[in-house]
Amino acid sequence: MTSTRNDLTSADVAELSRLLSTGEVSAVEVTRAHLDRITAEDGRLGAYLHVETDAALAAAAAVDEARAAGDELGPLAGVPVALKDLVVTEGVPTTSGSKILEGWLPPYSATIATRLAEAGTVLLGKTNMDEFAMGSSTENSAYQVTRNPWDTDRIPGGSSGGSSAAVAGDLAPWSIGTDTGGSIRQPAAVTGLVGHKPTYGSVSRYGLIAFSSSLDQAGPMARTVLDAALMHEVIGGHDPRDSTSIDSPLTGLADAARAGAAGDLRGVRIGVVRELGGEGHTDGYEPGVLARTREAIEVLAGLGAEVTEVSCPSFDLALPAYYLIAPSEASSNLARYEGVRFGLRVGDDGSHDLDEVMALTREAGFGPEVKRRIILGTYALSSGYYEAYYGQAQKVRTLITRDFTAAFADVDVLVSPTTPTVAFPIGARVEDPIAMYAADLCTLPASLAGLPAISVPSGLSDGLPVGLQVMAPALADDRCYRVAAALEAAQDAARGHRLLDELPGRGAAA
């Protein structure tokens, strides 16, 4: 079952970019290598919902032709990419992991999909996800289970679990994930990847199928911090089609990653958040996760960073606040799926009236977790309950933002574990939504405050990856990249190879 090592599918993007631009390999070769591996391995991993075989080869051939003709190409031309299946792609199936959108062919493309295409990247396909991004294990996909390449009996995280499994499993060099409460960072952490949730508003949401509008952000999932920064620079920046898009240029992210990799963190003040796995707040955290977190912080201190503990008491309220705000917005965002204009329609046989057709469509088209959250959100927004639930949750959000502001007066970044546990076994939490929700405990505060946060590998616990989360003030995404790259470089150097190289079947070779 295990694969043989393939340089083209296990290389990072910086390396692929070099190979492509020097002409050592062609875009078609790189694309074909990935498509072949998808054919061979995706039956086992279940990362993709849709593979664009012909279109990908055609796009790669076009890049090769352009290069042969002497055209000036960007550094990423010919690099393959996978998109989470909620990124709308013109003419390419886009389901958001839901049966209600089965068969829908979008008439337009998301801004980030267009930007990636304009950079010359080649779309391999669309990756599996929890339905409408609601989940932390990808088990809520209406289509298939996705498996963690580190242990195929375990979850790849979620909701961007197809994107994490694809990159960790060498089925794509990097991918787009989206993060509402942790859906980039948690799957990156449990598969040994780097995943960054950008500052809210710094990456366009136009064409991302909405879960919770005030929280959703798309971001990179990659094998290295530098790769993540490179992708962020492609997809980020102002988009006039998204009113919440921030009109300020996002540059210097790759430079920050390179600077961090140089290993000097002198003058950087790091705050360790007590409420996220610190003293008195260790319930639910695995000892191995806490140990890797401590060790990672020691590495950072060893690079010259000044480390202190900070307290953010409102973070304890993040989980309940999130599970009111996100479902409230979702209940409204998902109202458009009623079978009138696109997607599934059930009961339109003349025996049901309009309201019944809408109800039957939604009954058949949505899975149990989506229904749970629609009901939760509908209730929270109801007249008479609005203030007590949605209103209170918004106040908590303000308190959490204040905690961050206070903390960032004294430190440059905050760190915590990305998620309290390593990847759990498939099926372990499906019957217990609260246990499932706890996977996002550490990632929710930055989501609610709209701040950038990255997950970078910090080591293994029982042979499974652990992630360290680095959070920064709004628009200071560069700090996340710098600190994460410093940790990555130091640990890679110490162990003599990348963490991903320890992935069973990949062979530990630098």
Binding site: Y108, I209, S331, F342
Partner: protein
């Protein structure tokens, strides 16, 4: 559905002896912006169905709204014209409900943070001024249009299928909501109508919308309740929708007052509900009951940033408002020396601007009024169009008036000239020239016509000679006929008198 035929109605004058009405109006104005509220689609009326749509106004997954700055500006200008307070911070909100004509499953509207609040509009009815307080002016998006096919009524009941045109979905819509208006008594229907008329004039003067009720760019919901005379509390109100002309506003209020009075007289209870107005019968019928109405679950629209209009900008908008209709009417009334009633006629006929331009082109105000309210109003009415839509310009009317005043043509000829101007044959002077429509002097042709008339009617001549001088009128008519109206009637009369009576 309640049968409209079954509603008992109380005599209007009689009900006023026992009840007092309270009215309230919610008016929707479709703004005349070139593009929609949250996307770049065109807003042209009458385009082929679903040709002015895009992923945003179709509510496609992943699409996002971007607010139209011109629509926000127009809304603020309407608010300023109504004396409203303009919010320094305002937000859009989602109004959540399921209906096929709202593509997103919610309408993007405003809830507790509207752009404009606390204004007023004074309207005049029979010389008395009524102040209508404005509760709020907010901005939202229009819905698509449902077309129910196969039913007898065009309503959803009985239809075998329905089609939706999303061209209208997302067109900016301003909602202007009044506070309840008590104290209008018997004049409530007229006050309601005068309010909508005045509001329409204001929006028109601002250039914010073409406000054409028949095309739905101005729509009205009318709230009415009755309470016993002298009661401290107001009664339960109904909300009548689908009131699509000024006349209907008046009729709807009157009908609801008479219907509710009957319900109350019978010891019944007015149900708080939405009712539909029927143009053909002038009646209302029950729609869905508000008591089982949807909970719209309003919450701030997270896809749009709050609006925080700059105070200096608002002041510059205020300073650049055009002269408003009431001020303009007062000025023109004085300039033209006419009564308030005459001014009301002019305004109601939509003739104010036309008369003003005609005067500016050189006509005396009285002459300009006479033509626009007389012949031209009749022609517009016959053709079923607005005065302004007639194919004649104020300059042409002024020219016509000049030709009459300098004696080139008489009123009768002027009407013939007008017909030809309206038919596109050119300016009045050119038509007179081309068609030889100038008044005839005492020419040989006229003398011949007069003498022929005398010769052809010996019986009339005998009567006249016997003292019935007024019988000559018939001969004047005959001469006018043979000269196709080109003769000057007083001249003809004088010529006849000279020849018959020898005076």
């Amino acid at each position: 559905m309640t049968s409209t035929m079954g509603d008992r109605l109380v005599d209007y004058d009689e009900l006023l002896t026992r009840y007092e009405p309270v009215i309230g109006l919610e008016t929707h104005v479709e703004l005349g912006t070139a593009s929609k509220m949250f996307c770049g689609c065109a807003t042209t009326f009458g385009a082929e169905p679903n040709t002015q749509t895009c992923p945003v106004c179709l509510g496609m997954p992943g699409s996002l709204p971007v607010a139209n700055a011109a629509a926000i500006e127009a809304t603020i200008r309407i608010g300023l014209a109504l004396g409203c307070r303009i919010a320094s911070w305002s937000r859009f909100a989602r109004k959540n409900y399921f209906y096929p004509d709202i593509p997103k499953g919610f309408q993007t509207s405003q809830y507790d943070e509207p752009l404009c609040t606390a204004g007023h509009l004074d309207v005049e009815v029979d010389g008395e001024t009524y102040r209508v307080e404005i509760e709020r002016v907010h901005l939202e998006e229009d819905t698509g249009k449902n077309l129910h096919v196969g039913g007898a009524t065009g309503r959803i009941h009985g239809a075998d299928h329905s089609l939706i045109d999303f061209n209208r979905a997302g067109i900016p819509l301003v909602e202007i909501v009044t506070r309840p208006v008590p104290g209008a008594g018997a004049k409530a229907p007229e006050v309601a109508r005068a309010y909508v008329t005045e509001l329409r004039e204001i929006v028109q003067a601002l250039g914010a919308s073409d406000v054409r009720m028949e095309q739905g760019s101005l729509r009205c919901d009318v709230n009415i309740s009755l309470n016993p005379v002298g009661a401290l509390e107001w009664g339960t109100r109904t909300e009548t929708k689908n009131v699509n002309s000024l006349r209907s506003v008046e009729r709807a209020v009157r009908f609801e007052m008479r219907r509710q009075a009957a319900v109350l007289d019978d010891g019944g209870r007015v149900v708080q509900e939405t009712r539909h107005f029927h143009e053909d019968t002038g009646s209302t019928s029950s729609g869905r009951s508000k008591e089982e109405a949807t909970d719209y679950r309003y919450f701030p629209e997270p896809d749009l940033v709050p609006l925080a209009p700059d105070a200096d900008w608002i002041e510059s908008l205020r300073a650049s408002l055009p002269e408003l209709p009431a001020a303009r009417r007062a000025r023109l009334q004085q300039e033209w020396g006419i009564s308030a009633t005459e001014m009301t006629w002019l305004a109601n006929a939509g003739a104010l601007g036309l008369v003003e331009e005609t005067v500016a082109a050189g006509a005396a105000p009285g002459d300009a009024r006479k033509w626009w309210l007389g012949d031209l109003a009749r022609r517009a009415n016959d053709a079923g169009v607005e005065l302004a839509e007639l194919a004649v310009t104020p300059t042409q009317v002024a020219e016509l008036v000049g030709l009459v005043n300098d004696g080139t043509i008489n009123d009768g000829l002027a009407r013939q000239v007008l017909d030809r101007v309206l038919a596109g044959e050119g300016d009045p002077a050119a038509v007179v020239e081309a068609q030889g429509l100038a008044v005839m002097g005492e020419s040989d042709e006229l003398v011949a016509a007069v003498e022929a008339a005398i010769a052809g009617a010996p019986d009339v001549i005998a009567k006249v000679k016997a003292g019935k001088v007024q019988a000559l009128g018939a001969l004047v008519g005959a001469v006018m006929k043979t000269t196709r109206g080109k003769a000057d009637a007083p001249t003809v009369k004088r010529m006849l008198e000279e020849r018959v009576l020898g005076s």
